[in-house]
Each structure stands twice: as structure tokens, then as C-alpha cells.
Amino acid sequence: MIDGSVTTRCAPPTKRGRASSVYRSLVAFLGVVPFFAYVAVFFLVPTLVVAFGAFMGPQGLTTHNISALAQPQIASSLLHSVILAGVTAVIGAVFGSLLSYAVATSRRDGLVRRVFTTLCGVLAQFGGVALAFAFVATVGAQGLLTIWLQRMGMTISDSQWVYEWDKGLVVVYLYFQIPLMVLVFLPAIEGLRPEWREATQTLGGGSWRYWRHVAGPVLTPPFIGALLLLFANAFSAYATVAVLISQASPVLTLNIAGAMSSEVVLGQANVAKAMALAMVVVVALVMTLQALVERRTSKWLAS
């Protein structure tokens, strides 16, 4: 079954045969050693460093790092991160799903569709630093839109809104949240079979019934799954916000970066690990939920 040697396997096992099969499976395992070694060193070790480092102090084990999470600055940044991720996930999921429906109903090999999905890929996975600069060029103090609005006689009283976590950051986050929603949700919409709509129509149901009783229920699990993914994505975003905000640390990722590079206060590095651990816990919760939802999704939309 494993390879071409089925016939030899069927012969009664002799002592030599058994020994050689052990030898062969050992050789087979040798083939995957490089991969596992690599993943262990550059992925599992860092993860364990975070997990154990969070409980390490200068004098051995301690819960001091974890209790440091209750400091007002860290606790509020965690709260900000959760709110920011939640709000942008909901807005991004709603607009992203509308957009992906529009994309799904456009021509399959059309240029518009190709350009649009590619743009979504770029913004969702590549954005980061470039997105922050795009934002500055658009709505910064000297940005194109700001100047246009000024020419039309509208001045924004609060010129710093761009750099505030509950205003500017929400908008700039949408620039990678909506595209990510399109990427994740498009396959689900494409999984809707035309036969289902036709079946609804044959039974006398209109558009409303189709969405209420067929497409809606089928698309709900993937929608929630995508929403959770968007939450995790925004929660762990760093590049864009790091470029935009240089003074304060309104979100958790900035706080982690700050604690990591701080050489002033000793032991901050381990507080960074505690914050990172808190982050992993939140993301792990969300991703577990997402995996559970995904299992329901695959019932109907398995391709």
C-alpha cells in the first residue's frame, strides 16, 4: 500500500524481512527530519520562548510579568486592540462580503475581476508600510483629500484624527480588512450553486426566499468564520500602525514592540513575552472558534 512492494509484504514475514521493514521505516522517517528540525528551531522554539519566558524573572519563576499586564497602559492598549479589531472586523466583513458578491457575479475571466482580486491580494497581504504612507498622502495634513476639502471650504478642526486609534486607525485598517474579506469570502460565494436558486424558483420562491432560506443559512458559517479571521488579523497587525504612530502606544502590538526594544527598564523583555502570550491566547481562542465554524461550512460548500 505504501509503495510498490506489496507483493513482498504478502509473503510470510521472516526474521530478516521484519528487520528490513523496521530499517526501511527508519529510513522513511529520516526523510522528514530536516523539515521537522527546521520548524522546531525557527518556529517551535520561539513559541516556547514566549510561553515560558512570560513566567520567567531574574530570580527564576514568577507571575510578576503576568500581573504587569494589569498596568493601566498595557490593559488599556489591550482593550483598544480588541475594540479596534472587533469594529474593523465587522465593518470589513459587511462591506467585504458585498464586494465579494459583486466580484462573484462578474465575468469569470474578465479583466476587472482579475485586477480587483489581485489588488485585494496586494492590500490584504502586502499593505503594511505602504498603506500607512498611502494614508498620509491622502488624508494627512498635506494629503490630497485634505487639500481638496480645504479648497471646497471644509476644514477638519481636528488635524490629528488620522493618528488616533479610534478614528484614523479604523479607516486605515479597513484598507486591509475589506480586501482580506474578499479573498476569504469569495470562494464561499462562488460555492453557491446556481441549481439552488433554480430549485427555489421551481418551488415558487423569489429572491427574498432564496436569500432568507437558502443562500443566507449556507453563507452564515463562512461569514462568521471570515469575521473571526479578520478579527485575528487586525488584532495582530503591526506594520501600518507602527509607521503611522511614533509617539504613544495605543494598541497592544506597539506596546510589545516598545517593551522589546526598551533597554531602560530591566525585565521589560519578559513583560513583552507576557503581552505576546496574552496575544496568543486571544488569537488562539478566536482561531479555535473559527476552526469550529469552518467544520460547519465544509458541510455545504465543500468543493
Binding site: A102, R114, Y238, A239, I256
Partner: protein, 289 residues
């Protein structure tokens, strides 16, 4: 199916269908227009910003510097170094990824199918570990890397392989599923081919598009990477753009726009490559229905 419907109430259904299609077209047009404005405006604003000359006029000076390698080397050496090192990182990370992942995935499919789930889990796990968490844990690992190999930025490639693992895995897995590796390799083995021969003459030639799309996606990801490089105090393209932004906004915006356009180009080309592979699968499913 459509024929079934029309037998009952041919004309009414047909017109309903047409009305729905027209409604769909309007919805599509409006949605695309709004989305185009929302996503297009910042790109236009970037282009506009980089052509200002500071006195209300237009100039292409920034772009002239950006496209002139020796001039950029003079005025923005860090940016030039960042570009060079990021291209190098992309090449090295993609090579390590392919050398590490493709043989392992093939081997697991052929000889150790029980490990398939484990390999998949490990490959997709980096998706749920935020990059910034990985960096926190990578600090001691990179202390050792620096100790053994030196401080060069190129060694970031080890971390980048982990970051591109999920995307590369998916692309390669789709490629391996499309060909029947097991039957092909059994055929080759029964004709006396070695495992190496199976890999070199059966798997690799059949995996061209999958390898290409894995590579393209990885290149785009590596060129856009900021978090790991910045927090490990290395200079790559995105870190350089960030740093230049502190002194010259125009230059950094021009560089950011170019990097976006470059990524767009890479992924756009990839969308054609991916399609070439998907088409036969589409043909098969349409035959089934």
C-alpha cells in the same frame, strides 16, 4: 435545469431572470465604482504627492532619483541597500522553502501518509501566530544565528521561510493533489527508478505551476515584510522606506507606491499561472454535472 423552469411559465420566468440580471449589473456597477474610489484614491494621492515640487507645481525629480540606481545610491544608500537585500532575501527564502517543503511533502504523501496531518498542522500554524509574537520568541534564536553566522540581514531568510510556510504549503498541496503522485511514483519505481529519480523526473516537472505560484506569493510576502526586520533591527526594503519617511516624505511615498505596484505585478502574473492549472479541473467538474 433552466429548460425545466421554462416549461412551466416560459416567458414570465425569462423576464424575471432578465430583470434580476439587470439589477445585478446595476449593483455590480455601483459597488465597483465605490470600491474603486475607496481603494483608488490613496493610490492616486500617492502619485500626486510624489510629483509636487513644493511651490505648487509639478516635478518628476523624486521618480528620477528612484529610477536612477547610482543617484539613489548616493542620496539614499539605505534605501538602495534595502532593495538589494530584500530581493536577495526573497530569492534565498524561496529556495530554502522549495528545497525544504517540496521533498518533505512528496515523501510524506508517498511513504508516511500518517504524518500528513502533522505536517499540514505545522505548516498552517504560523498563520495563527502573529508575526510580532514570533519576533519576541526569535530574539534568543537570532542571538545564536548571529553567533554562528554573523549579523548580516540575509539571515532573516530563516524567519521568512516560517512566515511563507502556510502560503507555500497551500500552493504546493494543491499542485500535489492535482497529479496522482502515488501511481506515478509506483510506475516509476516498478521500472527501477530511484527515489531521487522519481522526485527529479516525475514530481518536479509536474509541479511547475504550483512551484511558481508558491514562489510568486512568497516573493510578494518577503518584499512586503516589515515587522520581523524592524524589531530585529535589520534593514530591508520596508524598513528603509519607513526610515526615509522620517526625512523625505515624497521619496518614501514614491518607494512605497513602487513596491505596491511591483507586488501587484507579481501577483497579477501569478493569477494567470494559477488559472492555467485550474482550468482542467473546471472542465472535469462541468462534465460531472
Amino acid at each position: 435545469m433552466a429548460g425545466l423552469v421554462s416549461t412551466r411559465d416560459g416567458r414570465g420566468r425569462a423576464s424575471l431572470r432578465r430583470r434580476r440580471l439587470r439589477g445585478g449589473a446595476v449593483f455590480r456597477l455601483v459597488t465597483f465604482a465605490i470600491a474603486g474610489l475607496f481603494f483608488g484614491l490613496p493610490l492616486v494621492a500617492m502619485a500626486e504627492f510624489t510629483t509636487r515640487n513644493g511651490r505648487g507645481g509639478r516635478t518628476l525629480e523624486t521618480w528620477a532619483t528612484l529610477t536612477n540606481f547610482s543617484k539613489m545610491n548616493e542620496s539614499y544608500p539605505d534605501l538602495k541597500n534595502g532593495i538589494v537585500v530584500s530581493l536577495g532575501l526573497a530569492a534565498v527564502a524561496v529556495s530554502i522553502m522549495l528545497v525544504l517543503l517540496l521533498p518533505t511533502m512528496t515523501w510524506v504523501r508517498l511513504r508516511l501518509p500518517r504524518l500528513g496531518k502533522t505536517v499540514q498542522f505545522l505548516c498552517l500554524l504560523p498563520l495563527s501566530i502573529p508575526a510580532i509574537v514570533l519576533v519576541v520568541g526569535l530574539v534568543p534564536v537570532y542571538a545564536w544565528v548571529t553567533y554562528f553566522l554573523g549579523e548580516s540581514t540575509i539571515w532573516l531568510c530563516f524567519a521568512y521561510v516560517v512566515l511563507i510556510l502556510p502560503f507555500a504549503y497551500r500552493a504546493l498541496d494543491a499542485g500535489l493533489s492535482a497529479i496522482d503522485v502515488k501511481t506515478l511514483s509506483e510506475a516509476a519505481r516498478s521500472l527501477g527508478a530511484s527515489w531521487f529519480m522519481v522526485f527529479r523526473a516525475i514530481v518536479v516537472p509536474n509541479m511547475g505551476t504550483a512551484m511558481l505560484s508558491a514562489a510568486f506569493l512568497s516573493v510578494a510576502l518577503v518584499l512586503g515584510e516589515f515587522t520581523v526586520a524592524n524589531l530585529l533591527s535589520r534593514n530591508n526594503l520596508q524598513v528603509a522606506i519607513f526610515m526615509v519617511g522620517k526625512s523625505n516624505a515624497s521619496m518614501s511615498i514614491a518607494a512605497a507606491l513602487s513596491s505596491l505596484i511591483f507586488a501587484f505585478g507579481v501577483l497579477f502574473v501569478m493569477s494567470f499561472v494559477g488559472n492555467g492549472r485550474r482550468r482542467p479541473a473546471d472542465g472535469r467538474s462541468s462534465k460531472e454535472s
